[in-house]
């Protein structure tokens, strides 16, 4: 299942360092990672570099991966939970090219998993690093536009504004109407944005086995959650945190405990729900799990990939 990349072309080798970044930049990022791990949830400013992909397209995650990756790593890259989304394919090809690294779609095989908007369904384990691409690292940005203000709020643990905003939510909608990028408290000290993962994934961050690294290239921030760290989604006693659930199960593999994507099949309301985690779904089907629409064309590519 692990595919070995083609050797780096002479062109690339001649013009660029291993894993694209120069060694000084890697050292700078590595130092930031260590501080981020030492102060869980705190956003470390770093000298983010211009990358050959646009800001907002994973430059933070790419810089983190480039700073940690070595030839022995096995690299997986997902976007929206899927290995075959175009940007994930593009980033995976980038590292196969510049870092001579083996790539995989298998969550368990990977040593570095770079992700946008999801945490894989399969429980991560020690020895794995999950690298998040983060568009906006500041959980308070929606409430306060100024970095100078939000930095002070974190410094003095002034998170009242966040609670007020959630409470206003409750008064307006009868519940906390936050769905993705749902803010968390790390070790009861730093308020942290989990990146725009659905709140469905929030509980996976608490006391997990892997190292979680978050990189925001455009905003020039790195933060981290070490293994076995307390990560609590904000809530109120009378309005406890709850995750998304579906009445439907995955049309392809029948999973009823996975995060589902809604796939629109026509313009009169026919739709199907399928696992957002493409590898998880493929693996379940390979194990013989069958959903109500098993065999649908959507399953073709994934079934091949899972083999």
């Amino acid at each position: 299942m692990i595919s070995t990349s083609t050797p780096r072309s002479n062109e690339t080798e001649r013009y660029y360092n291993y894993a694209y970044l120069d060694e000084q930049t890697k050292r700078m990022i590595r130092r930031a990672i260590l501080k981020a791990l030492a102060i869980p949830g705190y956003q470390v400013p770093f000298g983010s570099r211009e990358m050959p992909v646009p800001y907002g397209w994973g430059t933070g995650g790419i810089q983190l991966t480039a700073a940690i990756i070595g030839p022995d790593d096995v690299y997986k890259c997902i976007d929206q939970g899927a290995d075959d989304t175009t940007n994930a394919v593009s980033i995976r090809q980038f590292f196969a090219k510049v870092a001579d690294v083996a790539t995989t779609e298998d969550t368990a095989e990977a040593t570095i998993i770079q992700t946008r908007h999801r945490i894989p369904e399969q429980t991560l384990k020690a020895g794995q690093v999950l690298v998040f691409q983060v568009p906006q690292p500041e959980p308070l940005r929606g409430l306060e536009a100024r970095e100078t203000e939000t930095r002070a709020m974190h410094a003095y643990e002034e998170y009242g504004l966040q609670y007020v905003s959630l409470y206003e939510n409750v008064s307006a909608y009868g519940r906390i109407a936050a769905t993705a990028g749902y803010p968390v408290m790390v070790e009861e000290r730093y308020l942290m944005s989990p990146s725009p993962i659905p709140k469905f994934d929030n509980p996976k961050m608490d006391d997990n086995e892997a190292i979680l690294l978050f990189g925001a290239g455009r905003e020039k921030r790195i933060y981290a959650v070490p293994p076995h760290t307390q990560v609590r989604s904000l809530d109120f006693e009378d309005y406890p945190f709850e995750v998304q659930t579906w009445e439907e199960s995955c049309a392809l593999c029948g999973a009823d405990d996975a995060y589902l994507d809604e796939v629109v099949l026509d313009d009169v309301g026919t739709k199907m729900f399928v696992c957002s985690d493409s590898h998880h779904c493929g693996q379940r089907r390979a194990e013989g799990h069958v959903g109500p629409m098993a065999g649908h064309q959507l399953a073709q590519g994934e079934a091949e990939a899972a083999l």
Binding site: E23, G70, E187, V225
Partner: protein
């Protein structure tokens, strides 16, 4: 090289700086992410006398012109400085407050943890990381650690730290988000004690 050191006498660095530093970094990252666990950096090159292999490996991996380094006066300054300047290009500072890293080889006589930079409220990352050479990472009195990176609790037993080190370290942790971060090294081996680690001292 104003120190009058013959360049040919300087001990070598990584035979392959790109992959050498990557391997060391991953080991150090894992150690910081899992305080109390021990990393073996025996594959790193031999640094000048007075520095352990793990300490040297950290220096080669993380020091450069952006990181002022406080160097323990007990180390052969000329030799160690020449090596650090040649391989890392790092400025050497005598002021613990200016140090991004401190290399401590004689923990008994070194300044207290609190003498180094503990960062500021808005930028607690601008703090010193201390690399402290001890006799051994195991075999001493048992200390219990808790905190991020530790499942429940874990025991460590380094040998060669000053008697009041753990009190200093507890005080360091009590002022979180401020604080220094510590890498204990003993020869080839390394263990991390980030400021987030809480220490339980027996009988206190």
């Amino acid at each position: 090289m104003s120190l009058g050191i013959d360049l040919t006498q300087i001990e070598s660095g990584f035979s392959d700086p790109v992959f050498g530093s990557q391997s060391v970094f991953r080991a150090v990252m894992d150690a910081v992410a899992r305080p109390g666990t021990i990393a073996d950096l025996g594959f790193a090159p031999e640094p000048p006398e007075g520095l352990g292999r793990a300490a040297g490996a950290v220096a080669l991996t993380l020091f450069d012109f952006e990181t002022p380094v406080w160097l323990d006066p007990s180390v052969d300054q000329a030799r160690a400085q020449a090596w650090l300047r040649f391989h890392c290009g790092c400025p050497i500072t005598a002021d613990p407050q200016q140090a991004a890293f401190a290399v401590i080889c004689a923990p008994e006589s070194a300044p207290a943890l609190g003498a180094f930079n503990i960062g500021d409220a808005k930028y607690p990352d601008r703090s010193t990381t201390l690399i402290i050479e001890v006799v051994a990472l195991t075999g001493g009195a048992a200390i219990t650690l808790r905190g991020p990176g530790i499942k429940g609790e874990t025991g460590v037993s380094p040998v060669g730290l000053p008697a009041d080190f753990w009190h200093q370290f507890a005080e360091n942790g009590a002022q979180f988000q401020f604080g220094v971060d510590v890498l204990l090294v003993a020869g080839d081996r390394l263990m991390a004690l980030p400021r987030s680690t809480r220490v339980q001292i027996e009988g206190v």
